[in-house]
């Protein structure tokens, strides 16, 4: 069963499961969807305060907001992906349908939340631009491309972790640690200029950053939104973009190979 077939033949189930994720996420909470915006905003606030204290000024507030929202999308997909099979053991053991639908619907639900949170993020960024005198880039038309790359990358993570967590339950503990490390090596609360400025003596450091898919994705967002933010169009960047594609294929293959044992292992 290919991914495309899962999309067409089981569209109904995919939509229903995605709807279920969205409906359940904030059911019973007073603020509901607002949390999807409030959490990254609070995070941004905290980072801004501490970063200013520790590292001085230099990173535009808009960059931090863009970075934190994007980071939050990946974190949500990682967490939802991890439990997408183990948390639906009942379904997996009792009914046959392409298992790939579970991590896929978890990722899509988060994609929908992220898209909605962007509707709040943009006015906020517009206000910040107005205050700081920056402006939107004409490249903003390319935003869907960045979103697509981000979505594919997150889906790959969700597929990989969903399958691994069934086979090796340690995955969910390990992921928690790796996420916090990943947060600091990704330009979420800083940007590539900040890296370049602090690593003038070691020009290979910024290149190293480009090996991180999230660097490419977050910088991608910043450069299509903010006028004057350059996209690092270097060979390393394209290498990493190709690696995202390969990573997706690998994660999908691995998931398909492991899925036949899911019912036995749950």
């Amino acid at each position: 069963m290919s991914l495309a077939a899962a999309f067409t033949r089981h569209r109904e189930l995919l939509l229903n499961l995605t709807g279920r994720e969205l409906k359940l996420r904030y059911r019973g909470s007073a603020l509901g969807f607002l949390w999807s915006v409030l959490i990254p905003l609070f995070m941004a606030l905290i980072y801004v305060v501490f970063l200013r204290l520790l590292g001085g000024r230099g990173v535009p507030l808009a960059d931090i907001i863009i970075g934190v929202f994007a980071w939050q999308f990946t974190v949500q997909c990682v967490n939802a992906g991890l439990t997408s099979i183990t948390g639906n053991a009942n379904l997996v053991k009792k009914v046959y349908f392409p298992r790939v639908i579970l991590p896929l619907s978890a990722t899509l639900a988060n994609g929908a939340t992220y898209a909605m949170s962007l509707l709040v993020q943009f006015p906020l960024v517009a206000i910040l631009f107005h205050v700081s005198g920056a402006s939107f880039s004409p490249w903003i038309a390319l935003l869907p491309v960045v979103l697509l790359v981000h979505l594919v990358f997150n889906l790959a993570l969700a597929l990989l972790l969903a399958a691994l967590n069934v086979v090796v339950r340690d995955a969910q503990h390990l992921v928690g640690i790796l996420l916090s490390a990943w947060f600091f090596v990704s330009p979420v609360m800083y940007n590539l200029d900040f890296v370049a400025r602090h690593a003038e003596a070691h020009p290979w450091v910024p290149a190293l950053f480009l090996l991180n898919p999230l660097t490419i994705i977050i910088t991608g967002y910043r450069s299509v939104i903010t006028a004057g933010t350059a996209f690092p169009a270097e060979p390393m960047t394209f290498l990493t973009l190709a690696a995202i594609g390969l990573f997706f294929l690998f994660a999908y293959r691995l998931f398909q190979r492991l899925q036949k044992d899911f019912a036995d292992l749950l």
Binding site: L13, R20, F97, D170, A263, D264
Partner: protein, 394 residues
């Protein structure tokens, strides 16, 4: 035409240790290399076909591999050996309420569950009223299902599952849930499926239901197909071979054996030994006993239960004032049920020899002798009661 289900050399094994909880530590210690773990074969070398439109029952003791078989046919479990081929859409009643989410309302869950079973949304919307009607949950349909009772949960699940209108219906023991009225509704739906030429595979411990619904039975034991064919024959084989606790029946023997049964035969009016009797004819139980010491004032007793373990009649020589001489050595006792007033069904005969004050059981064989009764008439029930109508118009 293809059979609905083709099963070929089907096997499923589980590793006894280390399969469920792999951890990083295990991987580091053992490496990825698969050790020669002990295998447990839940199902082994099973081959059979289910013809289109047939109703086939699967029986066997607990843990015999029945549910694995259904899981393999439904596609949720991957076979270790062999293959299952199915032709037509499958709906399995093994997943009643699977994927119901506690925080969603009954109505929301119906849409979700239907999607899981592959029913298009428009169909569900159209049949929503019908589903709610069948489940009998009209007043509760917009309540989160976490507040449902387990019976309500299953009723809603069944209502959705039967709406799917599949070509092949897999039923796993689910009919035991729900109250009697709902069970009747379920059985009606299953009969309806049969009439429309759908294929049914029924796994159950309810031997009465299995005999009522199925054209053919498969008996599975220790993962292997050990008997198949005509339901009555397979049920008798099952009961005789694997006499264990079956539902409300308790097949066992005990006693001091000071007097013991040596040979018991069930004969019809011609004296022929048989397992099937006719309502209104004669049933004779011929009991050979041996007394190992002289026993005075012994009592012979018998009792009958229906196929589902319901006690229907019991008496003994003491109650009926039949004098029993002191028992010494061997002898024969004959118990005649003439005319046999039992109606069609499966029954279990228990026999006992005990002391006059019930203080000592010499030998008791509980639910030991199964037999079937066929009724040429069309009345229903367990007993044929003597009855007469008097009608006076005006």
């Amino acid at each position: 035409m293809n059979p609905a289900i083709e099963i070929e050399n089907l096997g499923k094994s589980y590793r006894l240790r280390g399969v469920a909880k792999a951890s990083i530590r295990d991987l580091l210690v053992r490496g990825w290399k698969r050790e020669q773990a002990e295998l447990f074969w839940a199902l082994r070398e099973v081959s059979f076909n289910v013809p289109r439109g047939a109703s086939v029952g699967v029986v066997g003791p607990n843990g015999s591999g029945k549910s694995s078989l259904l899981g393999l046919i439904a596609g949720t479990i991957t076979p270790t050996t062999g293959a299952v081929r199915t032709h037509g859409s499958i709906s399995s009643l093994l997943e009643l309420g699977a994927g119901f989410h506690p925080d969603l309302s009954g109505r929301e869950n119906v849409f979700l569950n239907a999607a899981v079973l592959g029913i298009p949304r428009e169909d569900v919307a159209r049949r929503m009223d019908h589903i709610i009607e069948f489940s009998g949950l009209r007043d509760f349909i917009d309540m989160p299902v976490k507040n449902y009772s387990s019976g309500m949960y299953v009723r809603l699940g069944f209502a959705v599952a039967v709406e799917m209108n599949p070509d092949i219906l897999l039923v796993d023991e689910v009919l035991a849930v729900g109250d009697l009225a709902f069970q009747m509704k379920c059985f009606d739906r299953i009969r309806d499926f049969q009439k429309r030429g759908k294929t049914i595979l029924l796994v159950t411990h309810d031997l009465v239901a299995v005999e009522q619904f199925c054209d053919e039975l498969k008996l599975i034991h220790h993962g292997r197909l050990v008997a198949q064919g005509n339901p009555s024959d397979v049920i008798l084989t099952y009961l005789k071979t694997y006499m264990a606790r079956i539902g409300n029946l308790n097949v066992e023997e005990h006693g001091t054996r000071e007097v013991e049964f040596t040979d018991v035969r069930l004969r019809d009016e011609s004296g022929a030994e048989t397992g099937t009797f006719i309502t209104g004819r004669r049933l004779v139980v011929e009991i050979r006993y041996r007394a190992h010491r002289r026993v005075e004032q012994a009592v012979f007793g018998f009792s009958l239960k229906t196929g589902n373990g319901f006690f229907i009649y019991g008496t003994n020589t003491q109650i009926m004032n039949v004098p029993v001489p002191p028992l010494e050595g061997e002898g024969t006792v004959r118990l005649a049920l003439d005319p046999l007033s039992l109606m069609e069904g499966k029954y279990f005969l228990s026999l006992a020899i005990h002391s006059w004050d019930h203080a000592t059981q010499y030998h008791r064989r509980e639910d030991w002798y199964p037999f079937a009764v066929k009724n040429p008439g069309t009345a229903h029930g367990v007993f044929q009661l003597p009855c007469a109508w008097t009608i006076a118009p005006g």
